[in-house]
């Protein structure tokens, strides 16, 4: 720096005279420039210098030496001296005393999570053993394992206590959800949906419309909880996301099947009433019981029935693929409720109360819409011939009994007594979902 003629004020920082203290560390910048990687090298070198310590930077470039003070100030450090050297300039940078990141220091490198056969890193293995501890509601958008930087305006998460949301096998379920994704445009033999007669196709269109209508509720319920789950409970975030994505595809496939034959169905008011009560529930565990265990559980039997009695391969394929996803959702629900009942003995009356409260809201519903029952029957009989209709009607009656039996079985698996399970099953919405 040429300063001939300047009148340097002795009270201002004069960088021409190097700090007499020995530098704590030395760095040879070689031919690196600011903007070309030197700042990365400087940051790494300064990390090893204690606050207030001095890093001596050797650079062959006069331009770099002239630019370093501006960089240092911006980065919270200070150039305290510079001197010509045989091969360029030596600039002394004193490390600033303020913390670069307002957080605890990073822990030492630890043991990495285990890999499974073939080098796979599974979600169930990434945190290592047992459910997580309660997460800090104010930890903000901190990924699993990350140290959150302190700040005052962090997003606060309503669902931070694992007891409110956790299921012990949620990691495995997330893994399955990823592995079992499918494509509703390409994996269904859509051309097969164009061949049915008017009567059968109209019945299929109504059943598919009913399914699609219900799947909207199955999507919106987890979607409403999703932005409330603390990122520290990452498995839950992934799980609910996969659930929402599954339901989006169910909506897609059943809507496509409803449209694929050219008929239209009704979106029924009774279904609407039943679904709106699902969205009213703001407690995660209550919602899981109502949606995953009771609603989607009942739908498992319905989807299996449709797959077996489908009049065309497109309808069968749609029901089969949706059934595979719904099994995961029901598994999660049973697992979560079982954990909740086992760890919080006083939760059972609250769960019963939630089912009762919903049933009270649905008091005006006397049963599954006749239109849906008729459509299921015609879809199965594929005709209006009396003898064939009788068989199909018997199959549909049998389905209702199967649904009731399996609901009780699932509720028992959750940890309810057989008596309570029967009571809750009876209270469940006649709309099925």
């Amino acid at each position: 720096m040429s300063q001939s003629g300047a009148r340097p004020d002795h009270r201002l920082a004069d960088r021409r005279h190097p700090d007499r203290r020995l530098p704590d560390h030395r760095l040879d910048a070689e031919h690196l420039e600011l903007g070309g990687g030197l700042e990365v090298l400087l940051a790494a070198a300064l990390e090893r210098v204690p606050p207030g310590g001095v890093l001596e930077v050797r650079t062959p470039s006069r331009a770099v030496a002239l630019e370093l003070p501006g960089w240092a100030r911006l980065a919270g450090h200070e150039v305290v001296g510079e001197a010509p050297a045989a091969d360029g300039t030596v600039v002394q940078v004193r490390r600033g005393r303020t913390a670069r990141v307002l957080a605890a220091p990073l822990p030492r490198r630890g043991e990495p999570p285990p890999l499974r056969g073939g080098g796979e890193l599974h979600t169930a293995d990434w945190r290592g053993g047992g459910p997580p501890a309660a997460a800090d509601p104010a930890a903000g958008f901190a990924p699993l394992g990350a140290l959150p930087e302190a700040r005052t305006s962090a997003y606060s998460w309503r669902l931070s206590d694992p007891d409110e949301v956790w299921a012990d096998d949620v990691g495995e379920l997330v893994e399955q959800a990823s592995a079992q994704q499918w494509d509703a445009s390409r994996e269904i033999p859509w051309s097969a949906a164009r061949e049915l007669d008017d009567t059968t196709e109209r019945a299929v269109a109504q059943v598919m419309t009913f399914l699609a209508q219900n799947e909207y509720a199955a999507l919106y319920v987890p979607a409403r909880f999703l932005p409330e789950v603390n990122p520290q409970l990452a498995e839950l975030v992934l799980w609910l996301s996969s659930h929402v994505h599954d339901e989006a595809r169910h909506i897609e496939v059943f809507t496509k099947r409803a449209l694929a034959g050219g008929w239209r169905g009704y979106a029924l008011a009774s279904t609407e009433l039943s679904l709106s009560t699902l969205l009213d529930e703001r407690d995660f565990t209550n919602a899981s019981l109502l949606l995953n265990v009771l609603g989607e559980g009942t739908f498992l039997d319905l989807l299996r029935f449709i797959e077996l009695h489908a009049p065309d391969p497109a309808t069968a394929a749609a029901a089969r693929l949706a059934h595979r996803d719904e099994r995961r959702h029901v598994h999660f629900g049973v697992s979560h409720i079982r954990r909740a009942i086992a760890s919080q003995p006083d939760i059972e009356p609250l769960l019963v109360g939630a089912v009762e409260a919903r049933a009270a809201k649905l008091a005006s519903l006397s049963g599954l819409s006749p239109l849906v029952i008729e459509s299921l029957t015609v879809m199965s009989s594929r005709s209006l011939v009396p003898a064939e209709l009788a068989d199909a009607a018997a199959e549909v009656r049998s389905l209702m009994a199967t649904m009731q039996r399996n609901r009780v079985r699932r509720l028992t698996a959750c940890g309810f007594s057989r008596r309570t399970a029967r009571y809750l099953s009876d209270l469940h919405s006649p709309n099925l979902m």
Partner: protein, 271 residues
């Protein structure tokens, strides 16, 4: 606003000024020296505001401070300044592929300057270059980017124009603050990649909190103590301090304004 509140004037060179002073206002109240802020659109109005008593404290640029101090015959006091204000400097930048062989080599070339009321991007560079033996006004072709007149270069806008002019070859060299040049580099402003620093001015002081000499000594002392106690490692203060570009406040002083005082006199800016 109660009568006991101090009134501090600042210039609204960017919307973030509101964010900064909303936080600092709460901070000063918590420290027992309640301070409200009043925003001006330019530093000339702020200086008038300090002179006519509309505000007691002015958050001044160096140019505004020198003018205010001149108006009252040196009867001002400084209550504090940022760490960065203590060693502000100006850099001369050139294209890497068109290097400059010293300041004298600028003669006959085109020099880009920031806003004419900016201490760091116009007034001081001309002064320091003159000390190096170059009368840029007569020996160079000057391009001035007067894009933020009244803000004294606070916006950085005119300095961005300087950088672009040099990068695009419309000027052979340009002057701007080292702080803005480094910030442009850190922000990845593409034109900066072509440029290097060819010269750097001696250090000088930049902004400060100014009061008139008549301001209550004890109150000024308490206000300074509160200012200096701001902690960058306090998570509730860091965002505002980052926006203000300060990590630590200093008591400051008058020493670093001599060069600007000289420069403004030379350039007829102090009447």
């Amino acid at each position: 606003m109660s009568g006991a509140e101090l009134r501090l004037g600042a210039v609204s060179y960017h919307p973030r000024v509101v964010t900064v002073w909303e936080r600092f206002r709460t901070y000063f109240a918590d420290r027992g020296v309640p301070t409200d802020y009043i925003l001006y659109s330019n530093y000339e109005r702020l200086v008038e505001g300090v002179l006519d008593g509309s505000v007691e404290i002015g958050w001044n640029t160096n140019t505004a401070f020198v003018r205010l101090d001149h108006e009252v015959g040196g009867q001002t006091r400084i209550l504090g300044m940022r760490d960065v204000d203590l060693d502000w400097s100006t850099v001369l930048v050139t294209r890497k592929d068109r290097p400059l062989d010293g300041v004298a080599d600028l003669a006959g070339r085109v020099l880009a300057l920031g806003s004419r009321d900016s201490g760091h991007a116009a007034i001081l560079p001309l002064h320091y270059l003159a000390q190096e033996g170059l009368d840029a006004g007569t020996q160079c072709g000057l391009i001035r980017f007067d894009t933020d007149i009244g803000k004294h270069g606070d916006t950085g806008d005119s300095e961005l124009h300087v950088v672009r002019a040099v990068s695009e070859g419309n000027a052979d060299a340009g002057v701007l603050s080292a702080a803005y040049f480094s910030a442009f580099r850190a922000d990845g402003v593409p034109q900066v990649a072509d440029l290097e620093v060819s010269w750097r001015s001696p250090p000088y002081y930049h902004c400060n909190f100014t009061v008139l000499e008549t301001f209550d000594l004890e109150l000024g002392e308490r206000w300074s103590q509160a200012l200096l106690a701001m902690d960058y490692d306090d998570e509730s203060l860091r965002p505002a301090m980052e926006l203000e570009g300060v990590r630590r406040w200093h008591p400051g002083g008058q020493a670093g304004y001599e060069s600007l005082r000289d420069a403004m006199r030379e350039q007829g800016l102090l009447s």
